[in-house]
């Protein structure tokens, strides 16, 4: 019996072209034993939801530095739902103003991470968020 792997889609929706942070997180998740599907820059919410479906991931991590998070995040959440992928946990990393964090969480985003977050924190939160689904 092979052990169940945590599968994570790391995606950059929208137009900003800076993906260093996303790559650092992807690498850290890999080192934590997760399988990370990295889709590259400038993804539409539709592309992200479709990739999440085909790859049957447990987690979607969105990296957003453009300020468009209040438009992009709900769209991704909605499309996941349309695809019967409600169980997929969504995390956001990037530049998110404090006042938006609660609003994002209310929409269903599990965690929001700004500059200075340690990768350990993200890894721990991911493990916790999907621990119920793994068994």
């Amino acid at each position: 019996m092979t052990e169940k792997k945590i599968r994570v889609l790391v995606a950059k929706p929208g137009l900003d072209g800076h993906d260093r942070g996303a790559k650092v997180v992807a690498r850290a998740l890999r080192d934590a034993g997760m399988e990370v599907i990295y889709t590259g820059l400038r993804q539409t919410p539709e592309m992200i939801a479709e990739a999440a479906l085909q790859e049957d991931v447990d987690v979607v991590g969105l990296s957003i530095l453009s300020g468009a998070h209040m438009a992009l995040a709900p769209k991704v959440l909605e499309l996941l739902k349309t695809n019967q992928q409600e169980h997929v946990r969504v995390f956001i990393g990037g530049i998110i103003p404090d006042e938006d964090i609660q609003a994002l969480k209310d929409m269903g985003v599990v965690g929001v991470y700004g500059p200075g977050t340690t990768t350990e924190e993200i890894i721990g939160d991911i493990r916790k968020a999907i621990s119920g689904r793994l068994n």
């Binding site: 052990e3 034993g33 399988e35 990295y38 990739a51 479906l53 790859e55």
Partner: protein
């Protein structure tokens, strides 16, 4: 949801879910594969292999586009893609990055892309790759690309799994060409010289051509080296004088140059396989090697279940102390149940 039934209807969520079950080797996964198996065997399986950075993903992206939008008069076919990347031997994690090059295919419901990690398998593909192929096959994807891990020399498992094997090369790999000649070139049905706009393309092609000429002077060339062993003459029902000599196709995947020619060659190879009887032969060997691999794993598991861990450790420590040889250790272990 009855996964197997939904897969036969082409339900994408069901396809993805069963794939996960198969990768995790669960009871549900095995049952699903069993249910869909009678519906497999329709698709043309195309393996794409080559050294890291030669442009395999970009090529698959372009080829898939070409099969989805063929020249007028041809029917577009549904395309499945399985892209394999390596798992870390230390953490077991993986970065699966082949989708980055395949963004042109996003939004096309006739394309299904799945990334998978090797999870410890060597040989360029994963243990569960053949299972994932079966799922796409049963779901009605007529053309399935299997992109291997960036492979250099001995990762030739793909040739057993696919009907048509593309080996992708690029100029500028220099002396690597020499090394590649020995192993991976021999499994090529079609050689792709990608990045053909780069300097050194002429000398790379010359090197490939001379390597191929050496190979084809050997009479068994047309038989596909992977399949020669012990299977050459036993199939007397199939007689064929046709010979396929692997062509070299230049491409520039990034802008689509040469892709149509390559797609035609792939189609030509499929026709060749069908007409020469080679298709049936490869199917048989393909399934045989799947059965063998499964048998091997099952036997190993059965043996492990019976084996006492203590005895195993004891014998192992005798080996590390150089008291008994590895060969002797295996002999003792095979008789394990007698010793207990």
């Amino acid at each position: 949801m009855n996964l197997a039934a939904s897969i036969l209807e082409g339900n994408r969520l069901a396809i993805a879910r069963l794939m996960t079950q198969v990768e995790n080797d669960t009871v549900e996964g095995l049952a699903g594969l069993e249910a869909i198996f009678p519906h497999t065997g329709q698709a043309h399986l195309i393996g794409v292999t080559g050294a890291p950075g030669t442009g395999k993903s970009s090529l698959v992206n372009q080829l898939a586009r070409c099969f989805r939008h063929p020249p007028p008069g041809k029917e577009p076919c549904r395309v499945g893609i399985i892209a394999v990347d390596p798992s870390s031997p230390f953490s077991g994690g993986a970065i699966l990055g082949d989708r980055i090059r395949m963004r042109d295919l996003a939004g096309d419901p006739g394309v299904f892309i799945r990334s998978m990690a090797t999870r410890g398998s060597l040989g360029g593909i994963a243990k569960a790759t053949s299972g994932l192929i079966q799922i796409l096959d049963a779901a009605g994807y007529q053309t399935i690309f299997i992109e291997t891990v960036g492979a250099g020399q001995a990762e030739v498992d793909i040739a057993r799994l696919a009907h048509t094997t593309l080996v992708v090369e690029a100029p500028g790999l220099g002396d690597d060409i020499q090394a590649i000649k020995a192993g991976i070139l021999e499994i090529a049905d079609i050689l792709v010289l990608n990045k053909a706009d780069r300097p050194g393309v002429e000398s790379a092609e010359t090197a490939l051509r001379s390597a191929l000429r050496l190979a084809s002077s050997n009479e068994t060339r047309s038989q596909h080296p992977e399949y020669i062993e012990g299977n050459q003459a036993d199939d007397s029902t199939v007689t064929s004088n046709k010979v396929w000599s692997p062509p070299i196709i230049r491409t520039i995947a990034i802008d689509g140059n040469g892709i149509e020619v390559l797609a035609e060659k792939i189609e030509e190879h499929r026709c060749f396989l069908k007409e020469s009887g080679e298709w049936k032969k490869r199917e048989k060997l393909r399934l045989q090697s799947e059965v063998d691999a499964l048998l091997q794993r099952t036997l190993m598991q059965q043996w492990r279940d019976k084996m006492s861990v203590m005895l195993y450790e004891k014998i192992l420590s005798q080996v590390t102390n150089r008291k008994i040889s590895t060969t002797n250790a295996v002999k003792l272990l095979m008789n394990g149940d007698n010793i207990q």
